[in-house]
């Protein structure tokens, strides 16, 4: 295994018991539900000048684990690679290098399970948009599509679709025959969730699932997600740019910047004691809810650079207040900051050569 985020937390008693009963469980409670090893994905485009090809290094060597029954939050800004990571996790894109291990079995290899098999247990909830639901299908048809392709009969698929619509709070009698354009944003998002749940997944990837909703609706959907997780014994990977929401819903948090993991750890450690300068800047960029205590200086200047030509060494050094020569030459590895808390920063790594680091 990589020397990255090595962590196993035992799920709580109730989840453990539920996991023992799940006939699909292979690895047992200590086996992480998902291990991502050194995922890399570059996109190549033809450049605008003759002969120049542009390589977008969207995800560059990212490793992490998701334990059974937990919620892993992934935060970052545009260009950090979290959306690409989501699509890698769910099999929509194949990584250039790296591997995915689901419940102990490698995905896509001859010895392990196929992507299609994995997709029976891993599903994705998309961000609400007009394009997230097929405008020409009724809600029931949209939700029943998954069970149909899994081999259920038309009737069984339809029954499952109605059951799952009821589960997310949309009464089938009223909603099954409706079309997406007749729904509000919050309702559409519930359908997105239902569609994912219809496949009876064990792991749900939520890619900006609440970002497009009004705040009051967002709170409703977050409550729903928490309830569903408890009731159905799910594991979540929650991807968002909204730090407050991630704090609310996650057990552990991973911070990404320009295709790399910069910090990962239990949620309270990350929020109360961030060890990476980018995490600190991100946390202090949140608008304060107190009009009497307004920010006077922005914690970070400039825009996030594009992943086309990332800086050498540490990718954050161009905007970092602590940058030193060693940051340009050596890429900092993820080092332990406490039990289960890791950060990729020379200033927080003993013996790195950075003036702020311990010798």
């Amino acid at each position: 295994m990589t020397g990255g985020s090595m962590l196993t937390t035992m799920p709580d008693q109730a989840t453990q018991a539920a996991l023992m009963r799940d006939p699909r469980d292979i690895g047992g409670p200590r086996q992480p539900m998902l291990i991502a090893e050194n995922l890399t994905k570059h996109f190549t485009f033809d450049g605008d000048r003759l002969g120049a090809r542009v390589v977008v290094r969207a995800v560059d060597g990212v490793s992490f684990m998701v334990c059974k029954g937990e919620t892993l939050g992934i935060v970052g800004e545009s260009g950090c690679g979290k959306s690409t990571t989501a699509r890698l996790l769910v099999g929509l894109i194949k990584p250039d290098t790296g591997a995915l291990v689901f419940d102990g079995e490698e995905v896509g290899s001859v010895r392990g399970i196929s992507i299609r098999r994995m997709q029976r247990s891993v599903q994705m909830v998309f961000q609400d948009s007009y394009a997230s639901l097929n405008p020409r299908l009724t809600l029931a048809d949209t939700v029943a599509f998954g069970p149909r392709v899994s081999g259920h009969s038309r009737r069984a698929a339809r029954a499952r679709a109605e059951a799952v619509l009821a589960l997310v709070g949309l009464a089938p009698k009223l909603y099954a025959a409706r079309y997406p354009h007749e729904l509000s944003g919050g309702q559409r998002q519930r359908v997105n969730i239902a569609r994912a749940l219809a496949m009876e997944p064990r792991l749900l990837i939520l890619d900006e699932a609440v970002s497009a909703l009004d705040k009051s609706i967002e709170a409703q959907v977050l409550n729903l997600l928490q309830e569903l997780k408890a009731r159905l014994h799910l594991t979540y990977v929650f991807i968002s740019h909204d730090l407050s929401v991630v704090r609310f819903i996650s057990d552990r948090v991973m911070v990404m910047y320009l295709g790399k993991t910069v910090e990962v750890g239990p949620v309270e450690d990350i929020y109360d004691n961030p060890r990476h300068p980018y995490t600190r800047a991100l946390l202090s960029s949140r608008p304060s809810m107190n009009p009497r205590q307004r920010r006077t200086e922005p914690p970070l200047s400039g825009d996030p650079p594009s992943p086309i030509d990332p800086p050498s060494g540490c990718r954050f050094r161009t905007r970092c207040v602590l940058a030193e020569p060693v940051c340009a030459t050596v890429a900092p590895p993820l080092t332990a900051q406490g039990s289960a808390h890791f950060a990729a920063c020379h200033a927080a790594t003993p013996g790195s050569g950075h003036s702020a680091a311990a010798a």
């Binding site: 919050g186 309702q187 609706i217 608008p287 970070l300």
Partner: protein, 349 residues
């Protein structure tokens, strides 16, 4: 008569010198009438804004906050019927001809949008766009306009401004495009800046930069800003006055610290309670039940009544008036008459 003449005559202070409001909106109504639909988006919105003040219009989808802003600049589709009275710097905006309207856009009132990509012309460099606006309004030479464009880009803290003058919008990142749009809006020194969710599409670290920039520019220029947002946190960072809208009406207004600390309208209280923050972890969130209303089928009486935890029989009979909670605050709720306040969330002060 020419708009310049009108503006020269119309000083916010008026002839007698008492500080009159920069923006006075009375009973603004808006109806969209077309072959397929007939819906009222605004039902009598009134507010006042003084020189140098920042007003935040806060609301969710369907509240009417965006169309209120657009009505001030008359940037609405032809199917829109506007009623009521809008005065900016004493000029009655509703009575202006389209030509006069073009005259005040940019010079008296300017607007910045959520998506700079759609507001900036992709076929011209940002330097060209700013210079053209300057020349049209101030009638100066090419080189003087270009010089002014450079000044503006430096003012909005675009690095390597001289080089960026010749950049096309698509060559800039999101944050820089937004700054370029602000530069374009400020090019003719407007007295009033209308901001339609300009930071919603930006990353957190860029959003705070743009907010602070707007605050600084507002102080330097003495501009008034009307800032539309759905994010209460953003309002806390930038607003002097807060106005909460729901279903096409103003339901609460007042100084931002007072409204946040002790909201008078149940919707405002519910909105503040819906905000997810540190203490929420491990608890069940308390969202406002139900969903934003269907504007084509508004209930009789208070628009918020179906979702309100403090609803009484009188609420569904008549729409409450905007009642004074204090000399500086008002709320459209019957709770005000009985002196009660809705339960406010514990703010992390």
């Amino acid at each position: 008569m020419g708009v310049t003449q009108m503006m020269a005559d119309a000083r916010p202070g008026g002839i007698s010198g008492t500080p009159a409001a920069l923006v006075e909106v009375r009973d603004l109504t808006l109806r969209l009438l077309s072959r397929d639909m007939d819906v009222s988006l605004l039902h009598g919105v009134s507010f006042t804004l003084h020189q140098g003040e920042v007003l935040c219009l806060v609301g969710e989808s369907g509240s009417g906050k965006t169309v209120t802003l657009r009505a001030l600049m008359r940037l609405l589709p032809p199917t829109a019927n506007i009623g009521g009275n809008i005065r900016i710097a004493g000029i009655d905006v509703g009575s202006l001809t389209p030509r006069q309207m073009i005259g005040i856009r940019g010079s008296l009132v300017a607007m910045i949008f959520q998506e700079p990509a759609t507001a900036l012309d992709p076929t011209f460099t940002i330097g060209q766009q700013i210079a053209e606006t300057v020349r049209v309004h101030d009638r100066v030479s090419h080189s003087a306009a270009r010089g002014r464009a450079l000044e503006l880009l430096e003012l909005v803290q675009i690095p390597s401004a001289r080089r960026r003058l010749d950049a096309y919008p698509h060559e800039l990142s999101g944050g820089l495009r937004q700054r370029a749009m602000i530069a374009l809006a400020l090019s003719c020194r407007p007295k009033l800046l209308l901001a339609d969710e300009p930071t919603t599409a930006l990353d957190a670290t860029v959003q705070i930069q743009v907010l602070l920039l707007l605050r600084r520019l507002q102080r330097e220029f003495g501009m008034a800003i009307i800032f539309v947002t759905h994010d209460v946190g953003v309002a806390c960072e930038i607003a002097d006055q807060l106005a909460v809208m729901y279903a096409g009406r103003l339901v609460e207004s007042g100084p931002v610290e007072e409204v946040i600390a002790a909201p008078a309208h149940p919707y405002t209280a519910g909105l503040l309670r819906s905000v997810v923050h540190a203490q929420s972890r491990g608890t069940r969130l308390e969202p406002i039940p139900g969903a934003p209303p269907d504007l084509t089928a508004l209930p009789r009486g208070c628009g918020f009544a179906p979702r309100c935890g403090y609803v009484r029989p009188e609420c569904t009979e008549r729409m409450p008036e905007l009642l004074a909670v204090s000399p500086t605050r008002s709320a459209r709720c019957l709770l005000v008459t009985s002196g009660e306040r809705p339960r406010a969330p514990p703010m992390p002060f």
